[in-house]
Amino acid sequence: MLRISFALILCFFLISLESFGKSTVSGHVRDAATGEALIAANVIILELGTGTSANEYGFYALSIEPGSYTLIFSYVGYATISRTIVLEDDMVLDMELRESLLELEEVSISSQRNNSNITQLEMGSTSLPIQSIRKIPALLGEIDVIKAIQLLPGVQVTSEGSSGFSVRGGGRDQNLILLDESVVYNASHLMGLFSIFNNDAIKDVKLYKGDIPAHSGGRLASLLDIRMKEGNSKQFAARGGIGTISSRLTLEGPIVHDKVSFLLSGRRTYADLFLLFSKDENLRDTRLYFYDLNGKVNYRINDNNRIYLSGYSGKDTYANKEFAGMVFGNRTLTLRWNHIFNNNLFSNFTLLNSHYFYDLGTPEGSEQFFNWNSALDDYGFKADFTFFPRPEHKVRFGASGTFHVIKPGEVSAISTGGIRQRLELTHNHSLENGVYLSGESKLGEKLALRYGLRYSMFHNVGPTTIYHYDEEFQLVDSSYYTQGDFFHFYHGLEPRIAANFLLGEQQSVKASYSRTRQYLQLASNSTAGTPLEVWFPASPNIEPQLSDQVSVGYFRNFLDHKLQSSVELYYKKMNNAIDFRDHAQLLLNPRMDGEIRVGESTSFGAELYVKYETGAFSGWISYTLSRTMREIPDINGGKAYPAPYDKPHDVALVLSYVIIPRISVAANWIYSTGIPYTVPSGRYEIMGNIIPLYTGRNKYRFPDYHRLDLSVTIKGKRRTGRRWRGEWNLTAYNAYARKNIWALNFIQDESFPDLTYAEMTYLFSIVPAITYNFIF
């Protein structure tokens, strides 16, 4: 591994020498109407037939020989612009693109025939513009980023209606979910039925399933990179909606024209507001809601410096003033400074904070008072540099560090006798660092490579108590580490390599290998998850999880790139894969690492993706054929068993059609093999109760899952000079009322105790909803 590292560093040094004698044209690509950066906009040099794409902040740079060139700027759904330049010295060329068809703004239309899926190096990744996500019919009309992600190949919903997702057989805690670079530890509202992401505040969503870039790490399976809007820097604008369960409002605009802009977005459910009208005092005292608040301010100091401050705060509250309640929520805060050192060296420095908490109990002063709370805090920084020595080469390097503080649980109780008792589980402190170096190179006309190396480090930090166990997982001893003790260290290299071989403009073959490490994991063995789950770190008892993934893919476009298709094959092996002993106690357990069982997990599969886009019709079909098996010595008698999210067949059909400019329809159809489940073979009776007897984990499967969702969107007439535009959206979730199993249980008949039967629980029949959306 050290030799590889040395070779890579040498390679980067040689590449950096290439920029000498070149001049650089650089700048930002933005939306002409809003000033928003256009992430991944293409910039092509016509004469050289090469180019680059804008980064997450819309910045691009091309270092080329002095001369005259034609630059072509393009972005999906926007009109392409070309500019002729005479490049003598370094120059700045900012570009603003306009949406191509204003009447059909919600339809992604490529004004240029985009074949970036063929030419880009990335594989196993999908970018979903928020306009595409808004077209997808959603449960109760709540447009949901994560529910859209679940329709992509290789991504599976972990439980009916849940915001949890599994990527290529990974656990739901193996997805790194970033909101403006801050980690979101629990992306669910209302027990998972909705995600925390308010679509009005989101600009771009990108999922990396395999070839995770070297600048990111810490999770095995995927990176879900969600970027908030920056705020309209041109004019004040508002967008909102009144829905069946919630309403939302987003305000954005310039504070100083083209220099400082803001975005403020809120969403709140309001079922409980109607409870205030109840005659029942208990109901009047009940609170049942969630809210999200997103805010962002960005300040363009000058051409070379820009500052962004963004944050999110959201909370679920289920409480009765007199009785009991539960509150949980997330908060993220990101401060970023973009600094352009020179025209071919872009940098970004970030300070981060993530916070997740839950708190439940009875009201203070009640006779049997108890309170239970838990929290997790991340304090982090990132320094990221991108160097553009030539159009064919790009180098990215940097470092990141995060200090994790996990408070697994604290319980206070006052007994009937009036005595206060308190339990606080030992806090976990840890420091997770990473340095990385990656590059992209085009070798000739056909071959492009991306190569990266990440070196991750993880320290456990005192004060804490570490327990020691024997081979039977029985406690034998413990060690106490004082504050500031760096008492355990894990580290390792994580190479990431990808290649793209063009077989012409219409097709390419790609391959990638990536290694990822995960140092934090979720203490949960349920499929849907609850707000009460806690994260726990690698420690002397728990080695970090490690994943090696190889994938190959064939990408082919048809009909002048309007029909894009791909087939990707992957094989992933996860070492130190974590599961939990049978009947594990995962809440308020000071010795939770004694509940963990470690082994291997293997996942392999094929993913087919066909996407079609024209002016009026768009959609995609995804099909995944996969298996994921775990083999853990202390579970299922050491025999391999299907992972909880193992669904061999998974199909999603997503379609939308603009009938006339004012009316569009959309539909999803989802089909998957039923999830594996453990069912009894036998039974026995103890103290009058029948107890199930199992003969193997996950041997049975639920019946196949399928569902159809429909929606119709009717826009109001546009009137000249009137900024207000409204639309009605009607959805029918689970349109043919399929009773998909959410839970399966085996019940002893109350009247005839010798009789037992199987009982399914399903969550949804047909669920209609109506939403009014507006923009002005």
């Binding site: 349920s526 009947h583 453990t678």
Partner: protein, 287 residues
């Protein structure tokens, strides 16, 4: 206009909630068969009684027949230097009773041996064994009944004040007897508690049971007597009860791990449990 909007919204909300609420439905599924295993339900307590052991066998899950009782087994109970053979009841198949009444002693390890049976019907007889050490050392100070009325339920909470050993974690089971009716007559009604997290040596008002006003069998009236039975149990038996209760309650994606077999302390693949526990009782009269 505002009122109209509220009504429309409420209507939609109610419709949505009705349609999104979870529903249950019986379904037919086919399950595998499995071979027959021994099932033991046995206890030695500090009560001076003729202790008994119930032996039965497992059956296929949808067999829908009473559990098959196991007869003609040789059942022995040994402790310290003594071994006694339990006699098979002539009235209740599968029940084996100690020849005399005796009371178990805290700190003593009791071993149950079952032999001369061919449960898996392979022509070879098997031998099963389990041991349990009787915990003790606790003392009930008092029991109180308090009436609560909440938005969800109303009834009497049974509050325990008791001393327990402070130098080690302890585990307890609680039974409730109203007049002479044992309310906690099934495994699911037997409540267990661990003081592992709050081991102060004293229970300063621990709620150990709730008797609902809506359940005629549980509802308490003036003059009723309520007896709380506090069993000092082993950790392994506490685990057995909690695991069994989890499996009986079923599993749901939000809260549950994968279903799994309940761990028994009987060797050789048998199911069930042999427990030794000491019993404390306290009776209150409802005012």
């Amino acid at each position: 206009m505002a009122a109209r909007f509220i009504y429309i919204h409420l209507g939609l909300l109610i419709m949505a909630l009705l349609m999104t609420s979870a529903c249950t439905e019986r379904i037919d599924i086919e399950l595998d068969s499995t071979y027959q295993r021994l099932v033991v339900e046995a206890a030695v307590t500090s009560d001076s009684v003729r202790h008994h052991v119930l032996l039965s066998v497992t059956s296929d899950y949808f067999s829908n027949q009473p559990a098959g009782q196991l007869e003609n087994a040789v059942v022995e109970l040994s402790f310290e230097d003594e071994t006694m053979q339990l006699m098979e009841s002539t009235e209740i198949p599968g029940r084996y009773e100690s020849p005399i009444a005796f009371s178990g002693v805290p700190g003593t390890t009791y071993t149950l041996t079952i032999s001369q049976i061919d449960v898996d019907e392979d022509g070879v007889t098997e031998r099963y064994q389990a041991s349990s050490t009787m915990p003790g050392g606790s003392e009930i100070e008092s029991v109180e009944l308090r009436h609560y009325s909440t938005p969800l339920v109303s009834g009497h909470s049974v509050i325990l004040f008791a001393y327990n050993p402070v130098d080690r974690p302890d585990w307890f089971g609680f039974k409730l007897i109203k007049n002479s009716d044992v309310l906690t007559d099934t495994l699911t009604k037997y409540s267990v508690f661990s003081d592992e997290l709050f081991d102060t040596g004293y229970f300063p008002g621990l709620p150990v049971g709730f008797l609902s006003d809506d359940n005629p069998r549980e509802a308490l009236y003036s003059g009723d007597t309520l007896t709380l039975e506090m069993d000092c149990i082993e950790e392994a038996y506490y685990n057995f009860v909690t695991e069994a209760q989890l499996e009986i309650a079923g599993s749901y994606p939000l809260f549950s791990g994968p279903p799994a077999n309940v761990v028994s302390n009987i060797d050789n693949g048998a199911q069930g449990y042999f427990a030794a526990y000491s019993i404390l009782r306290f009776t209150v009269i409802v005012e």
